[in-house]
């Protein structure tokens, strides 16, 4: 459930080991459901992570991400 009470329409899968922690997706996300992790990945970056709920499945983070294969967006089929 998103903060505005609407059910999730999608979800995001982050490739945390490829993420360079640039934060573009965090800025771009209209639902504000992405953040930079407190823990480091194997390169020593703080990767972007999904809060786990509230995704609208819009895909804007996918287009904002400069890393090929960095973000996957899934959408509910309804």
């Amino acid at each position: 459930m998103s903060p505005n009470g609407k059910p999730d329409r999608g979800s995001v899968v982050m490739n945390v080991e490829e993420c360079k922690g640039c934060g573009l997706c965090v800025e771009a996300c209209p639902s504000k459901v992405l953040s930079l992790s407190k823990s480091l990945n194997r390169y020593g970056y703080r990767p972007a992570v999904y809060l786990g709920h509230g995704c609208s499945g819009c895909g804007i983070c996918f287009f904002a991400c400069p890393e090929p294969g960095g973000i996957q967006v899934l959408r509910r089929t309804a």
Binding site: S11, G57, G59, I71, Q72, V73, R76, T77
Partner: protein
């Protein structure tokens, strides 16, 4: 009493005897034969009557006689045998005779096969005989419920003076589970309306014939009033994890059991599923379904038939919410995974990759 490992069909017979039933008339048929087998063993031991009739048509008419004499009596059969009994069930309901019949459903139509199915729903719940009547129908989902519902069936039959069917499928009839039987009750005294061949009951008449149209109509109205009363008093259902459910699954008997696992698996995968299991199919828990409809998004009916229960759910919902359907037939029993995949597909709970 201590729990006893008992087969579903045998549990019906033991529970019936403990509930004061003293007469069994039936004709064996797989997967209900163990009812006749256990009845042949146990009824004579308690001074009761066991008769293997020459056919189901004969056995249902023996029930008419036993019930008219005021004895708690029962029979058991499966699809093809139940079809033969329908005429007698109409007469039993018309003459207001209480009795209990167990239907251990197998696959059909026709001779079908002996594997479990729920295709007798319409015949039993809607009444396969002629005229304006209903049979009260109980739907057990475990061997314990086979015992409990059989005892309940005798009480309902006496209260409403109407035949009551315990509608189970081959799975429940054939499986063995621990059962805690109720304490035996005293054999009830014959009711005042019974025909006992005594001076006191000489004026009593058990009949379903009303040649004058007005009298016939009054009789039908009396039956109807009785059914309305049963709808208010006797309806039962089990709700499982429906408090916060978004989608509610509806199924009875063995399917209700599978759906319980579907709800648990689905919840592990983040779907808010709940289960409504009708324990009485007539009276149907329509009020409960409408109550749930106010706060859930949709329903899925799962059954071992082709939408017979779904039709009743649709009638209850009157278009309030969408009703999806999952059914297997022929004796095929689906796994919980198979049903869950159908639930995810029908309610679009799966996520598909759109970017990346």
């Amino acid at each position: 009493m201590k729990p006893e490992l008992t087969k579903g069909n045998e549990a019906i017979v033991k529970a019936a005897i403990l509930a004061g039933c003293r007469a069994y008339y039936g004709y064996p048929i797989t997967p209900a034969s163990e009812i006749a087998e256990a009845a042949a063993l146990y009824f004579p031991r308690v001074g009761g009557v066991f008769i293997q009739a020459e056919s189901e048509t004969a056995s249902v008419n023996m029930l008419y006689g036993g019930a008219a004499a005021g004895v708690r009596c029962m029979s058991g059969s499966s699809g093809p045998g139940m079809s033969l009994m329908q005429e007698g069930m109409s007469y039993l309901a018309g003459a207001e005779l209480p009795c209990v019949i167990a239907d251990i459903m197998r696959a059909g139509p026709g001779l079908g096969n002996i594997a479990p199915e729920q295709g007798d729903y319409n015949q039993i719940v809607k009444g396969g005989g002629h005229g304006n009547y209903r049979t009260l129908v109980l739907a057990p989902a475990s061997v314990q419920e086979m015992a409990d519902f059989t005892a309940l069936a005798f009480d309902l039959a006496d209260r409403y003076r109407n035949p009551v069917v315990v509608l189970a499928d081959g799975n429940i009839g054939q499986m063995m589970e621990p059962v805690r039987f109720a304490d035996p009750i005293d054999v009830p005294a014959p009711p005042a309306w019974a025909v006992r061949g005594t001076a006191a009951t000489r004026a009593n008449l058990v009949s379903s014939i009303f040649l004058e149209p007005e009298k016939m109509e009054r009789h039908v109205q009396k039956l109807e009033a009785k059914y309305r009363q049963a709808e208010r008093e006797a309806v039962r259902s089990e709700s499982y994890r429906t408090e916060d459910a978004e989608f509610v699954l509806i199924g009875y008997g063995i399917m209700g059991r599978i759906l319980k696992a579907v709800v648990d698996h689905g919840r592990e995968r983040g779907h808010k599923l709940g289960l409504l299991r009708p324990l009485t199919l007539y009276p149907f828990p329509g009020d409960r379904i409408r109550e749930l409809a106010a706060r859930v998004k949709g329903f899925l009916v799962a059954e071992l038939s082709v939408g017979q229960l779904r039709d009743d759910v649709r009638l209850a919902l009157e278009g309030r919410r969408p009703v999806e359907f999952f059914g297997r037939t022929g004796g095929v029993v689906p796994t919980a995974e198979e049903v869950l995949a159908a639930v995810e597909q029908r309610f679009a709970l799966q996520e598909v990759l759109v970017h990346g």
